[in-house]
Symmetry: C2
Subunit: 206 residues, 2 copies
């Protein structure tokens, strides 16, 4: 059995084309870029969406602070240059996942429009879909949630340069999806994400 | 149809576990790390293996100079520090792919044992398999192939610090697989890689 599987080898010179790859995997790669204030619910929604996609046999992978800030980007701090490089690398890695046939979900505050636009341009130039998802939770609601007490510290001046308090958040004017997560529950947000993917022909479950 | 698919949403708090992910995707993530001299055949073998895996419905993705040096690592040069950082980032990205349930294939000279060992340690600590594949082609054969004329330039002193000429290649003493690519054709090399994956229970085709 093992030998039989291993002996049947067909390949061609040069690289697999993207069309060949996506057809063989019954997949469409893309990036959904979640952006929003701290505690707006980005990671909760992206995590739930990832679960739903994977449970349906769709390769999807979330890039977030947990697996990026302590890994690939552990040599970056919070200076302006480092924040920009942080988002640049995330955009590059998301693009690789999308190119591989996975649905990449990035979950970072990513407060500056220019940095998000650069990630979008990277995908555009590679012919890969980039869907910006604005998790639009009012700051009052974010501050009420504040699970790590970070707004409180920022208001007290113990944290400097905190997005929404003393550093700007540039809301995306033309996001592909806006989730009013103050009014919608997680299921409703996930449903809206799935509907967006389906409307673009990007969600191919088994 | 579309609506029916989108309404059935089940998820739990917290992240998907790796076991849940791999079971749902019918996949096992890992990294195969190809190392060898310039022109040893790493990319040819990795590209053929990637094709065979993908054609069988297995998510696999190759990281190589084409998609890394001009993307994620475009801000790195060839100083000692930058070479090390180059391999560090590749190790981190390969780990993310492996964690996602993909078979990551890295194809870089990666001449220093310490850098390869660091990538291995990263995978070990995350409980992800790391398989080092030594593409062991004699330098005379590599130099005869020399498709880009780089050995010739290095011998003429026009390129400095070229691995195998005036910079060392540290052969891996304990690679999981050694491919004598001077004596084996591409099919035989791919077959050996598939057999290694199968022997570790890592190759789960549809």
């Amino acid at each position: 059995m093992t030998q039989q599987k291993a002996t049947n080898i067909t390949w061609h010179k040069g690289n697999l084309t993207r069309d060949e790859r996506f057809a063989a995997l019954k997949a469409k790669g893309c990036t959904m870029w979640f952006t929003g204030l701290p505690s707006s619910g980005k990671s909760t929604i992206a995590s739930a969406l990832e679960q739903v996609l994977v449970q349906r046999g769709v390769h999807s992978y979330r890039l977030d602070g947990d697996n990026i800030r302590f890994g690939l980007n552990k040599n970056l701090g919070f200076s302006a240059d480092d924040r920009k490089e942080n988002i640049r690398r995330i955009g590059e890695v998301a693009k690789l996942f999308a190119d591989s046939g996975s649905i990449a979900l990035t979950s970072f505050i990513s407060p500056y429009a220019a940095d998000r636009d650069a990630a979008r341009a990277l995908h555009d130039s590679a012919g890969l879909p980039f869907l910006e998802v604005f998790v639009d939770t009012p700051i009052g609601e974010c501050e009420k949630r504040d699970p790590k007490g970070l707004y409180k510290k920022a208001r007290a001046g113990e944290i400097k340069g905190f997005t929404g308090v003393d550093d700007p958040y540039e809301a995306p004017p033309k996001a592909e999806l806006r989730l009013a997560s103050g009014e919608m529950n997680v299921e409703a947000c996930v449903r809206a994400c799935l509907e967006l993917l389906e409307s673009r022909g990007l969600f191919v479950g088994r």
